[in-house]
């Protein structure tokens, strides 16, 4: 099976299962017809801010 053969490759590329499945999901979404396609894509907006802390201080806000 193709997916089984691909498994180790995405893991080797430093992806987690979540990233991998998100890419797959996005591919599927892109296969939709209009107007469902733009609707589905507009629903999936990603926005948040992360700041990493070490020893009680924020490293750099991103």
């Amino acid at each position: 099976m193709a997916s089984n053969a691909a498994m180790p490759f995405w893991r080797a590329a430093g992806m987690t299962y979540i990233t991998y499945s998100n890419i797959c999901a996005n591919l599927v979404r892109n296969c939709l017809k209009e107007p469902h396609k733009s609707e589905a894509l507009s629903r999936e907006k990603v926005h948040f801010s992360v700041s990493k802390w070490t020893d009680g201080k924020p490293e750099k806000p991103s």
């Binding site: 979540i18 926005h47 948040f48 992360v50």
Partner: protein, 370 residues
Amino acid sequence: MAMAALRREGRRCFSPLNSPNPIAAVRSSLIPASEYDFSLTFSLLLTVFLVVSLSQRRVFVFVSACEQSPLGVRSISTQVVRNRMKSVKNIQKITKAMKMVAASKLRAIQTKTENSRGLWQPFTALLGDTPSVDVKKNVIVTISSDKGLCGGINSTSVKTSKNIHKLASGPDKETKYVIMGEKGKAQLIRDSKKDIELIITELQKNPLNYTQVSALADDILKNVEFDALRLVFNKFQSVVSFIPTMATILSPEVIEKESEVGGKIGDLDAYEIEGGETKSEILQNLAEFQFSCVLFNAVLENACSEQGARMSAMDSSSRNAGDMLDRLTLTYNSLEAVSRAENRITERDEAKIKGVCWDLEPVKQLSPPN
């Protein structure tokens, strides 16, 4: 100004005018000029006319009592109460509006939350929930809201996280925080600064969706080392009840170790594995996917609880504002009654001192002629 001219003349024959004058001079700083001019001139003329032509003491007293009301000095104390009433009324309007907004947001998010519960249930059926698992590296994911005015949900989740932190910490153990939301951050920075690993905010700028939360879960997985993740959030029960909840997610290695020991996870061997993958590969994928699903549900549950809590908080605060308004209205009414009575007395006393009306009747009879 008519009044100023009359005062400068200072003629005795106009002595009835002198009685309202000192009061009016004090008042002048308290009222806007236009209102002052009109009402004072008008009432002066009226008083002069009535006193001179009719020379009836009853009418005089009655008119001067009337003259007081548009000037509004007697209500120096009632003015304060009136301002307060106005501000309370405005606050009540705001809280009512916030309640309506929260109610409509809640309706949208509640269905989403209830649907998302189907995401973690299969995982719990497969891997079980193991809150008591004892591992070295614990990471507590505290989920809170970005905005305030939503009752105690943020402090409950912070308190629960702190308790879990206390339980999980030991001599050779490491416990860290991953904080989501401004409010949890503000509370945890105060005393657990050194244990913070990651802070995530502005999650709810757009409506919550799985893509967003899974990207977030990905970030947490990449940046934080853990043996067990403890997600702390408020599970939505109803508009008025939220249960502080902890969901545990184990790292693949720990799952494997636990499955050898037995118990719920031990049943995992009963499943047949398709394809060429090893068990550890499957477990790793599963653990990652489980984390993103549980996190999605947790974020939604917490957002739902936030709206519910805000709704009930705003409901009770608008009710409190209503109660306060009732009390203030009572105070206002009694104050006004008192000051009205007082004004009549002082007016009469002043007139007596000035020698204008020397044979006034007692106060109790000082009422308008019927």
